[in-house]
């Protein structure tokens, strides 16, 4: 195109780039858009939630064609700013189902469906009958992964034992490794890492104990070829990309909410040369059946946010809620 | 002078706008004990700090063995054979005597290993050679002041000092300790070394020195041979007028019940060992009571517990009839105590604070307007006290640390003696104070007595005690072993009591010291 390049501002959550999670994935989407659509973009990393609104407002004043952010905590600030700049187009990825504002397009990632998938894979692959989960902080988003993982595992093998733990940090790989080794010491041989930079330690633990880790958000199989069973990819990059595309080709519709689940290919279990052969074809086949059922709606994977406090069972087909959920909510 | 070992030529030293040393010229001959005397703030310490390389002179030259030198720091001065023992000791208290002595010149085995055995042997030998016996393994903090000073001296000798500077070494020594120090100084001189000896006690000057230099207002006003002067002459050279070397005072007329009454007091020292045991004493209004004793016999602990700085373990202290809470300085003060501590650097003053701030403490209630501090009033009062107590080389805004030793002492005295307190406790009141000032301090204490206050003086200086006090108490191993009316007190007896009855030490005379 001859006219001036489209300018996009990407605003990270307070955890910023390098979280090996939605911030980095969004960044990937930006790069893709830069390559395919020839846009320009700047990444802005606020130091804390308290800087979201000012950052959004200043960005809106800078004449960007599109401003995209992520994180639930950005909803309120973006509503305020979007109201003040009705002509500015905004996007917010990886949030809830409620529309945000007439000039904001938002997206929901059904990461619980992806977690379901890798949970099933883990349950089918484990030798010890015990699998683990290493979360970063003890926060709802992470619980959402856990519930999906748990549901998938139990669906695949009701007898499988699922261990849950939280390292309390998104930035300390050593801690991640320590917690993982703790799980491995309790017979878990596959551990799902949902802990930002801490995940790297989980994978490192798998490497040093010859067990498996499951990566998250981006394809982390390459980090330890042969020891990362798979990665639950959360295609935040496509979300950001799609939004930018809609702006550039004029199909942008504010106030809409886009969904990215198994059906839409918004979440997936990464398969590449690094984990070739780690998962048996038999397992893959069974997992594909489960996947089909989810897509067809026969299985409704529970979203942690929809569970009522103390809810006894979850989803269809019904399954007992793990004890840890009830007291957490 | 060609035969001088070291000479200071036309030294000038400015501190900001203040001229501390004014074209001072001084020659030190080999093998002599050279006394340096002068009023507080005359510049003695500063001049010696310059010789020792601690301070750079503003102008002037230091000539060592005929060659002009300029020291970048003590290290260079030490290397050139100059050693100095400061007014405040510079020792590491929790280390042994040997470790302190060898610091900076440690004997070592291969691989930088510390050779403590050699160190202890050498320091042992050294102390024997100069008759300063000391246990090389003793921890410094357990030693009485006199012995700590020996450590300082040995530090210098260990580094082969040819010139030894002693800045007011006797200020806190007992007569016995002083006598021993003098013998050491003489033997050093005999061995060809030179000793510069700063003091305010003229009797000591005459007792030990060969030549005497008098400083006044930053100048060396004259240098004389010991044989050709008397104490009074030196005094008038220093102060520029004649001074009374003995206190003029009338008979004491104690009246009324005791102001300070201590019964069966026990206090333990820093390491939990008993320092004061079952001690009882009284001080009545209108009398000056002196406490004599060899340093480290419980004086400090006794006084600290009266002042509420230290907890007593048993017994009763009553000030003006009221019994202040144990270990509460405010309570003791409220009961009517004024207290001049010996350790002015750490307890009696805040060296970083200005003089007016130092003087306001303990009088805060007087300068209190509701929650506010009437600083202007406090400064005004401070200016008055600076005049009244003749505190030199400073305004009320000067940090106390910039004052000369004696003037720091005057700041403490001014603050405490002007509290309207019924009981005045003075530890080493004339420590580092020049004779002119001593005279006025003593006069002040006597006046306090005559106003009917009770005065309790703790001093290592028997002469001072005997001339100032009406009654003398002798403390030994935390107990009062003697209670003598000053009138019929006799040095020998007191000395014996201080030493636990079996010593026969006494204040030195010229002959002894030279023998």
């Amino acid at each position: 195109a001859a006219e001036a390049k489209m300018k996009v501002a990407m605003i990270t959550s307070e955890s910023g780039l390098g979280d090996k999670s939605f911030n980095d994935m969004m960044n990937e989407g930006m790069k893709k858009a830069q390559a395919d659509l020839g846009i320009e973009f700047n990444v802005i990393q606020p130091r804390s939630i308290s800087e979201f609104q000012s950052t959004l407002a200043r960005a809106a004043g800078q004449g960007f064609d599109f401003i995209v952010g992520s994180s639930f905590d950005m909803i309120k600030p973006m509503q305020a700013v979007a109201k003040a700049f009705p002509n500015q187009k905004f996007g917010l990825v990886d949030v809830g189902p409620d529309p945000i504002a007439p000039n904001v397009v938002s997206s929901v990632t059904k990461d619980w469906e992806g977690s379901f998938l890798v949970g099933a894979i883990a349950a089918k692959t484990t030798k010890t009958g015990t699998i683990g989960f290493v979360g970063g902080k003890d926060i709802p988003i992470i619980h959402r992964f856990y519930i999906g993982y748990y549901y998938g595992a139990k669906m695949a093998d009701p007898k499988v034992n699922v261990l849950e733990s939280y390292s309390g940090t998104f930035t300390d790989p050593a801690a991640g490794k320590e917690y993982t080794l703790g799980l491995i010491n309790q017979k878990s041989d596959i551990n799902f890492a949902v802990a930002g930079a801490t995940s790297a330690g989980v994978i490192d633990a798998a490497k040093s104990t010859k067990t498996f880790a499951i990566g998250v958000d981006s394809d982390q199989n390459y980090l330890a070829p042969g020891f990362v069973l798979t990665s639950m990819m959360k295609r935040v990059d496509t979300q950001a990309y799609d939004m930018i595309k809609s702006v550039s080709d004029g199909s942008f519709k504010g106030g809409t909410v886009l969904y990215y689940g198994l059906k839409e290919g918004g979440v997936a279990a990464a398969m590449d040369e690094y984990n070739k052969g780690l998962i048996s074809d038999a397992v893959l086949k069974q997992v594909d059946e489960l996947k089909a059922k989810v897509i067809s709606g026969e299985i409704v994977v529970p979203n942690y946010f929809d569970l009522a406090p103390g809810q006894k069972e979850m989803g269809t087909p019904p399954m007992a809620t793990p004890p840890s959920v009830a007291d957490k909510k | 002078m060609t035969d001088a070992l070291v000479s200071l030529r036309g030294i000038v030293k400015h501190f900001g706008e203040l001229v501390a040393i004014h074209d001072a010229t001084l020659d030190i001959k080999p093998g002599e004990v050279h006394a340096l005397v002068g009023e507080n703030g005359a510049g003695k310490s500063t001049l010696m700090n310059i010789l020792y390389g601690l301070l750079p002179p503003t102008s002037g030259a230091v000539v060592l063995r005929g060659k002009p030198v300029s020291f970048g720091g003590p290290a260079e001065a030490i290397a050139a054979g100059i050693g100095m023992v400061h007014q405040h000791f510079k020792l590491a208290p929790s280390f042994t005597v040997a470790e302190n002595i060898i610091l900076g010149a440690e004997p070592a085995l291969s691989g930088g290993r510390l050779d403590l055995r050699t160190a202890e042997r050498d320091t042992g030998d050294l102390s024997q050679r100069f008759g300063l016996d000391l246990d090389p393994r003793a921890i410094v903090s357990t030693l009485p002041v006199g012995l700590r000073q020996r450590v300082e001296i040995l530090k210098a000798l260990y580094r082969q000092a040819e010139i030894l500077i002693l800045d007011e070494p006797t200020a806190v020594l007992t007569p016995q300790e002083t006598a021993e120090l003098f013998i050491t100084m003489r033997s050093l001189a005999k061995s060809g070394r030179s000793v510069v000896f700063i003091t305010h006690k003229l009797r000591e000057v005459l007792a030990v020195s060969d030549r005497i230099s008098v400083m006044r207002q930053g100048r060396i006003v004259s240098t004389l041979d010991n044989s050709e002067v008397t104490a009074d002459q030196i005094a008038s050279l220093m102060v520029g007028r004649t001074v009374l070397l003995r206190v003029a005072k009338t008979e004491a007329k104690p009246r009324g019940g005791p102001t300070l009454e201590i019964s069966n007091l026990s206090v333990s020292g820093d390491r939990g060992t008993p320092a004061v045991e079952d001690l009882s004493l009284t001080v009545r209004p209108g009398e000056i009571v002196g406490l004599a004793g060899v340093q480290g016999n419980g004086q400090d602990e006794l006084v600290e517990s009266i002042a509420g700085i230290r907890r007593s373990t048993a017994g009763r202290i009553a000030i003006c009839g009221t019994v202040p809470t144990v270990g509460d300085p405010v309570a003791s003060r409220r009961a009517g105590l004024a207290y001049v501590p010996a350790d002015r650097a750490h307890v009696g003053l805040s060296l970083q604070s200005s003089i007016w701030e130092n003087m306001a403490v303990g009088h805060l209630s007087a300068f209190r307007k509701g929650p506010f501090l009437a600083a202007a009033a406090a400064r005004r009062r401070c200016r008055e006290l600076i005049k009244r107590f003749d505190i030199r080389g400073a305004g009320e805004m000067t940090p106390a640390g910039a004052l000369s030793g004696g003037n720091q002492q005057k700041v403490q005295l001014a603050r405490e003696l002007t509290r309207d307190a019924r009981l005045i406790i003075a530890e080493q009141p004339s420590q580092g104070v020049d004779i002119g000032a001593i005279e006025s301090i003593h006069r002040l204490l006597v006046a306090m007595r005559d106003e009917g206050r009770a005065v309790f003086v703790i001093s290592a200086d028997l002469d001072e005690l005997m001339s100032l006090c009406d009654r003398l108490l002798v403390i030994y191993r935390g107990r009062i072993v003697g209670d003598i009316a000053a009138a019929d007190a006799d040095v020998e007896e007191i000395g014996r009591l201080m030493g636990g009855s079996n010593t026969d030490d006494q204040a030195p005379t010229r002959q002894e010291a030279h023998a």
Binding site: K328 | P93, P329, H346, L349, L373
Partner: protein, 374 residues
């Protein structure tokens, strides 16, 4: 009497230079170094500094952001300064801020009070919360003699974990984030502009500075607290109740730290959020030290930090510069400002004879305070 040389009154200019010179010099040097770094990273220092300056100061939006980011640092800086001035190593302000914030957050949504009483109640709660958390090291230090620095190092993470627990498991508001329910509108501190959450809290901060300056220099307690910092033994000897006063210092310090939390909760977030602080408490230490523990100085150094942080996001927006470059620049400035350039590059040697120190901070290790007599 040592006579004085003829008093030569200093002409104004040199004196001015002596006052303004060093900090100015420091800024120049540090920005020089930063510039070098940028050149290495292929950015034009001059544009960067221009953007930084504009982005933090010019125009209400930018200024508003700067002031928003300055406000919490005034509180925390002040809190640290109060303690340092009395020789107390309260580096636990981060934790005290969290506790104050939690208290304000709870009262702010739960207290059944008339509207007019909400804000005062929250502020009081924050004061209490901060003071209470500071009371732990204060009492342990005063009565058991445990080193307060170590205590603070331990208590900060504990505070973070405790508040995290409360906001995740005990009083969690429904929803995707670990936070308490929003405080009622009556408890909010009014915001001024869409561009920032700058709020009336800044006036509270300024008031605190003014009060503290008055307290330090005008009151007897302020005098006593300074003295305790300079020589605690002397203060104790002089009839100042050291133990009582030190506890007081810590409580006041903690309370002001708590206010920092209240300002964030009531003015910025509108609720207590888990882990909301990007480290205001630690920045506060640097702020206080740059200010040499003077309340007015805190205003300036807090503003310097606020400006750099606010300029940071504009730099990222306009030049795509990483926030870490700005962080590096920021602490080069701190480092250089902290240095006391003698301007005489010959003298490796320290002043050997003690003269009044230029810094009123705990210069010795806490472990060594007042244990230097020979």
């Amino acid at each position: 009497m040592t006579d004085r040389a003829a008093p030569r009154p200093h002409p104004v200019l040199p004196r001015l230079l002596r006052a303004v010179g060093p900090p100015l010099f420091a800024l120049v040097v540090s920005f020089g170094l930063g510039g070098l770094l940028m050149a290495v990273l292929g950015k034009n220092p001059f544009t960067v500094y221009a953007v930084l300056l504009v982005g933090s100061l010019s125009g209400w939006p930018n200024l508003a952001v700067t002031l928003q980011l300055t406000t919490p640092l005034i509180f925390t800086g002040l809190a640290v300064a109060i303690a340092f001035r009395s020789g107390i190593w309260n580096i636990g302000v981060e934790g005290q801020m969290l506790m104050g914030a939690l208290a304000a957050g709870i009262v702010g949504y739960a207290a059944p009070l008339p509207d007019w009483a909400m804000v005062p109640a929250c502020l009081l709660a924050a004061l209490a919360g901060g003071a209470a958390w500071a009371a732990i090291p204060a009492l342990l230090r005063a009565y058991i003699g445990v080193n307060e620095l170590v205590l603070c190092l331990m208590l900060n993470p504990i505070a973070l974990l405790l508040t995290g627990y409360v906001s995740a498991r005990v009083l969690k508001a429904p929803g995707p984030t670990n936070k308490l329910p929003d405080v009622v509108d009556a408890a909010r501190l009014a915001n001024f502009s869409l561009y920032s959450q700058l709020n009336t809290g800044i006036f509270i901060a300024l008031a605190c500075c003014a009060l503290m300056a008055l307290f330090n220099n005008g009151t007897v307690r302020g005098f006593e607290w300074k003295l305790i910092g300079l020589n605690a033994r002397f203060a104790n000897y002089g009839g100042i109740r050291v133990r009582r006063n030190v506890i007081g210092v810590m409580l006041v310090s903690g309370a002001i730290g708590g206010l920092a939390g209240a300002e964030q909760v009531l003015g910025v977030y509108g609720a207590f959020y888990d882990n909301f602080s990007p480290g205001y408490g630690f920045d506060g230490i640097a702020v206080a030290m740059l200010a040499n523990s003077s309340p007015i100085g805190v205003l300036f150094s807090a503003f310097l930090f606020g400006a750099l942080n606010s300029g940071s996001s504009v730099l990222q927006m306009e030049l795509g510069i990483s926030k870490y470059l700005v962080q590096v620049l920021q602490f080069i400035v701190v480092l250089i400002l902290a240095a006391r350039f003698t301007f005489s590059w010959r003298g490796w040697r320290r002043p050997l004879v003690a003269s009044a120190p230029a810094v009123t901070l705990p210069m010795t290790l806490p472990a060594e305070q007042g244990t230097t007599e020979a």
